[in-house]
Amino acid sequence: MITYIVKRVLSLIPVLGVVAVVVFALVHLSPGDPASVILGPDASAADVDRLREELGLNQPIPQQFFLWLGNALTGDLGSSLYNGTPVTEVFLDYFRPTLSLAIFAQIIGIAVALPMGVFAALHRGKAVDGALMSFALVGISVPSFLMGLLLILFFAVFLNWLPVAGYAPLSEGLLTHLEFLLLPAISLGFIQAALITRITRSAMLEVMNNAYVKTARAKGLPRAAIVIKHTLRNAFIPILEIIGQTFTTLIAGAVVVEFVFNIPGLGQLIVNSVERRDFPVIQGTVLLVAFGYVLINLIIDLIYGIVDPRVRLDQ
């Protein structure tokens, strides 16, 4: 197990190396520079050049890359060109809303999807199965921004129960925090729920046909025990996989939902930084997101081993 973890962690290094090179190249080779954005639409070319010089953007790109890489290896990802805040600080500020939203959306997704998937599998072919699967199809098909706008219109504008947009940190109280996150979490969780429901149903069906389930039934075990202990647990690997995958995409920033609900999360940070070409922030954020992505995948793999002891991680 420990050898496995060490191996996996070491394999992160080339992945992050490639990410670093690609992001740096993309960011610096694409047109547009921060100096002209800061100075505004009417600035003269001479002013833009002067500010570029002052911000250190006139150095050759390979030199800038190695300078950045050297600092990054010591844990210094640089500072925002736009307001001088260290990138790691900016990242953490924007990571918290994203993490809250991701967790909340995932809880909603799982809470809705697992019972629905199990229920649909148990009533396979019946009307209720059809209804639940149509619901899942709608969930996958409706884009999150549309869902978000509809939720805003109904719950925030029409009923005036919840705020239209914005974000309140946990420090302002759990209830206020959740009040702002509820609608965005539902619009994200809806898609998650749809995906997880479908996977849960098919995984359940696959396992239900196994001989040991029939044996359990023949032995006269209670239905709940068969469903939860024997079927759901064995069907859990693919379900866990889809939960892991969807969670990592949520962590990488639910850009559209963050925009519609004006949540200062990672998605918004990346888009804003790209728009104003805040190079250090783009590079640092993408690198940290990539790191988080690989890390979550590692954790999910480790959980496989716990859920299903047949999975031997160190082989």
Partner: protein, 511 residues
Amino acid sequence: MLNKLKTSAAIVAVALMAAGAQAQDRTEVRIAYDTIPPTIDPHMSTAYSTMDFAAQIFEPLVTLNADYEPELVLAESIEVSEDGKTYTITLREGITFHNGEPLTADDAVASMNRWKEKSILARGTLSDATFEKVDDLTLELKLAEAAPLTLSVIGNPMQFAGIMPQEIIENAPAQGVTEYVGTGPYEVANWDTDQEMHLAKFEDYSSVDTEPNGLAGSKNPGVDDVYMEIVTDDSTRVSGLRSGQYDIALRLPHDNADQLLNSDDLKIYAEDYAFLGMFFNKKSGPFTDIKLRQAVAAALDMNEILYGALGNEKFYSLEHSLASPNQVLWYNDAGAEYYNQDDAEKARKLIEESSYDGEELTFLVTRAYPLHFYAAVIVQQQLQEVGLNVKLAEYDWATLLEHRSDPEAWDMFASEFTFEPTPINAIFLHSRNEYAGWTDSPEVDRLIEEIRVTEDQDKALELFTEMQAELMEYTTYIRYGNYKPLHGLSAEIEGFTVSNNIILSNLSVAE
């Protein structure tokens, strides 16, 4: 039953009282702002968003009123020497910065010198001028030659000369100051970059006592806190305004006007703000040929373009003058024959006479400014109809700025400009400014220089009219017309105005 009724009545009464108390207690206003300002430092940027934020915090020595005349703000008096070359500026006594330090001539000199170095307008018109301290409350501006428009330049609201403490100026990082300490009616209580600026009423604010007028006059906020929340999504700003989460929502899509007007709780604010138009590349490519520029001017139907972009005649006016109709000192009709011609035949004839050979014409545009994009689509269509091969090159804002600085990369670009208080200072006129498009008309340059030193306003207007005629014939740009951005407000909000930038200094909530 009676008891039940009584209880219900009591509950309603309590609820009404609570609501009443809440209405009276409303001392904060929430504003949904549409753009992230690139900096809050007014000396640094020419972006309108920077001015909207900075103008609440910083104040200049002089500013311009609604008629674009200079009025004193931090200056108590300004005396001009007989030869017109020396301005003695005395500061008002007892003004303190938000950090509690008193305003002195050192601060004013440091700020004005930094501004003079950064501002494009100041560099163009005050390049040889010096600001020097005389005593604690007095400074002197010395000019190389007399220039009657000097106070209009110092008071210009774009990239304005806000006064900051000397030590902040001296320690300012390259990308602009990050400590926002001014003398304005609001101080920055908190600024979550990209998210929200909390402006708190500055208790020690020292106001002038003249009537509020444009950017000038007394400032007396009727609220304690203003939250400028950055909400970039259009529909979110509209929904937030309708639900009551925001009291003011800026720059809403014009399609929403009827929806806002139909609500008793809301009102709109829409006043002339800027002109929409496009600029030609006169340094390289087919538009170096004046005939081809004139062909474009001949082809376009401005009403169709503006109606298409804004969807409602209420929000635009067909105007070609460099000055807005309110700028009575400068407004004139010269060059009308080159505007809104909608004459396809003339356009085709001019194209034939020009050196245009059917090559692709690149029209730079960005969806970051939706109106520019909507208008460009119609322009493209109208020009295609007369035989010009126009391609829309759509980019994000930063890419557009980069391409725009390269004369080989484009032929036309879409833009807008707010009204320049002194129209000859519009950056796209004088060749010295090297503004994208590279206007290079010796005649226009000569007239600008002449107007700048002309004391007599009638003579200045005459020269200006001549310059405008010259400019229209030269066709440096195409002006579609003037437009009004749509701002939505809660019906209770009073004292909100816009004059180049938004003015929040007399904001109040009606009880």
